[in-house]
């Protein structure tokens, strides 16, 4: 009777085996209005301390600029947030409940952190529209992709993003025909298609003309509020034009934090960075 009992146990239809249940990541919890916590982070490469007791808090919907001289740890910080690098010690939390240090790159992208790299990499052969369609958050397995059709809802999302990045008129042009600035915007648009809660933007205006820079400033300011945006940038004019809060990094930790005006008057900041 015993094997039969086991068999019965296995064939019960009111139960699902533990291992068959896909673990769901906890929802992004913003009860304290802070979207990103970095606490006591340390990371060294061959003895060089890239990140040194870094503490940083980003509020939900905030637009934060991070500046600092070369080697201040800006890129390493981004790498830790997106899961590319693991810190030696410290904590990194996305909202109240998501521990970034326990997730890998695709998982972090999935829960809503999007990163734009410095060099724009759009699919040149395809139209702007197709670029956005590909980047959309969707079921990316073989069969669903084959049967996929652009639903009205998805089309609306694409139109909305096209509007935001200002490429509505160029939607059917191949991406190869876009200017450098437009490619950067398209790339930001591709990030937006994944509906991220937090956007990490690495040097968005490098190589842009003045008009393009203004347009980018406008774009990033619109995004803040709906998304939280962290911008790492070298161009001081640009930072001045968009920043509400600026964080100055120096030797792997936060040197000062405040409005751009406060930063410009801070003697320590002047010494390490602005004065140069």
């Amino acid at each position: 009777m015993k094997p039969l009992g086991v068999l019965k146990e296995f064939s019960r239809r009111d139960r699902v085996f533990e291992f068959l249940i896909k673990p769901e990541p906890p929802e992004l919890d913003l009860t304290h209005n802070i979207i990103l916590y970095l606490e006591g982070l340390n990371k060294s490469f061959d003895g060089f301390k890239a990140i040194n007791e870094l503490n940083l808090y980003i509020e939900a919907g905030e637009l934060r600029c991070i500046i600092g001289p070369n080697g201040a740890g800006k890129s390493t910080m981004m790498d830790i947030i997106t899961g590319k690098t693991r810190p030696d010690s410290g904590q990194a939390w996305f909202g109240q409940r998501l521990n970034l240090l326990e997730m890998d790159e695709p998982e972090i992208a999935e829960v809503g952190i999007g990163r734009k790299f410095q060099k724009p990499t759009v699919f040149e052969m395809m139209s702007v529209l197709q670029n956005l369609e590909l980047a959309m958050a969707q079921d990316k397995r073989l069969w669903p992709l084959l049967r996929a059709h652009l639903s009205g809802e998805q089309r609306d999302l694409i139109d909305e993003v096209l509007e935001i990045i200002g490429l509505t008129d160029l939607a059917s042009e191949p991406a190869a025909k876009l200017s450098h600035g437009q490619k950067q915007w398209l790339e930001i648009g591709m990030l937006l298609m994944q509906k991220p809660a937090l956007l990490l933007v690495d040097e968005p205006v490098a190589g842009m003309t003045h008009q393009e820079m203004e347009r980018t400033a406008e774009l990033l300011t619109t995004l803040a509020g709906k998304h939280s945006v962290i911008v790492v940038e070298h161009d001081m004019d640009f930072v001045r034009s968009i920043a509400r809060t600026v964080t100055v990094l120096h030797q792997g930790s936060v040197l000062a934090e405040g409005s751009m005006a406060q930063m410009q008057d801070d003697p320590r900041v002047i010494e390490v960075y602005l004065g140069e």
Binding site: P106, F123, M126, K140, L142, L145, R147
Partner: protein
């Protein structure tokens, strides 16, 4: 079910399907109804030759799908073609029954010749057409799946992948040359009599085989076009142009490559299975790496990444091959080489690129 709207945006494709339809009406009429004395009569030899070209065209189509849209330069697609051909050959061998030279009711002639007393296990079931038909898709498909799974998972790409596909077909060729393999050694499988009970020598059987090739090419084209115009096709092109970037947006590059590769191998297998009854023989020479390289040249000459370009290339090169090897046999290889060099130098997009080239010139001068 499947929406046919993807054909609306494919004008050359509709032309191509239209031409296939016309050919499928004209050829049987010209062969069976027009009297032999008339200039419009088409000999059975020509019909068979056309059928052979069409199965090559399907093979070229399958290569274009992986090369033109996914950037996988397979130099071993001839292996899938040959495997499909061997499966069909095994069925045709079993159909001979006791009409072979040695008159054994079960064993094919070459097994009797080798003093084998019973049928090897892997020849079981091939007396049934449905089983053979299943295997035509399964055998190349499974090989492509295993090979692709290992290669794509280890992220082998580019030249390295081309080289191992080449090695695969070469290894298969050496294996099939051995008598012990049980596939007829270097003589291969031949001396076929019937297919589904119809004599292969009958004109009507030849016509039906020709029509089957037309059908297979048309269906293969429509399915391939459906794939490349879906979002999956878009993802394929994304992978072709920027593989790591597609990974970064969340596409499972290995799965997509594997899926398309297996589908392409199955198409190649079907092409091989249509080729064998029309040509009347399959031997290990079909696995030769040279064949696989030549078929990549067909696609390059026709124009890759368009599907119909591959078909045009296959038909054109094979027609010239028939012409040259009959009229000027010594010149053929030089002609093929010259064609390839000229196309690479002056028509990087192949023959179908000519149209766009002219349009671009007109646009520039206007």
């Amino acid at each position: 079910m499947i929406r046919m709207s993807f054909l609306k945006n494919d004008k050359p494709g509709r032309w191509f399907l239209g031409i296939l339809l016309v050919v499928s009406v004209i050829v049987p009429v010209a062969n069976l109804l027009v009297p032999q004395s008339s200039v419009f009569h088409l000999s059975t030899y020509t019909v068979t030759l056309l059928g052979k070209y069409l199965s090559y065209a399907l093979l070229a189509l399958s290569v274009d799908l992986v090369w033109g849209y996914l950037g996988i330069l397979s130099l071993g697609h001839g292996a899938f073609f040959a495997l499909g051909g061997y499966v069909m050959g095994m069925y045709l061998m079993r159909q001979i029954g006791d009409r072979g030279v040695y008159g054994d009711p079960v064993l094919p002639d070459f097994m009797v010749f080798l003093d084998w007393s019973e049928l090897p296990w892997f020849w079981y079931g091939f007396d049934q057409f449905w089983f053979a038909a299943l295997m035509i898709i399964l055998v190349p498909g499974v090989l492509a799946f295993v090979f692709g799974y290992l290669a794509f998972r280890s992220r082998v790409t580019g030249v390295y992948l081309s080289i191992i596909t080449q090695a695969m077909t070469y290894a298969l060729m050496l294996a099939f040359f051995r008598n012990e393999m049980g596939f007829g050694g270097n003589n291969g499988l031949t001396d076929f009599k019937d297919i589904l009970g119809f004599s292969l020598r009958e004109d009507s059987t030849r016509i039906v085989l020709f029509l089957a090739s037309v059908m297979a090419l048309a269906i293969g084209y429509v399915l391939s076009r459906y794939i490349v115009s879906s979002r999956l096709g878009l993802a394929c092109v994304a992978i072709r142009d920027a593989e790591s970037r597609s990974r970064f947006i969340g596409y499972r590059v290995e799965h997509i490559k594997l899926g398309i590769f297996v589908f392409s191998a199955a198409l190649a297998g079907i092409a091989g299975a249509l080729y064998v009854p029309q040509v009347g023989i399959i031997n290990p020479g079909e696995f030769s790496p040279l064949n696989s390289i030549e078929l990549v040249i067909w696609v390059a000459i026709g124009g890759r990444g368009t599907l119909y370009g591959a078909v045009i290339g296959a038909l054109l090169v094979n027609y010239s091959k028939t012409y040259f090897t009959a009229a000027l046999p010594d010149v053929w290889l030089y002609a093929l080489g010259a064609m390839f060099v000229l196309v690479t130098l002056y028509l990087p997009k192949g023959i179908v690129g000519l149209k766009n080239l002219r349009a671009a010139k007109e646009g520039a001068s206007a």
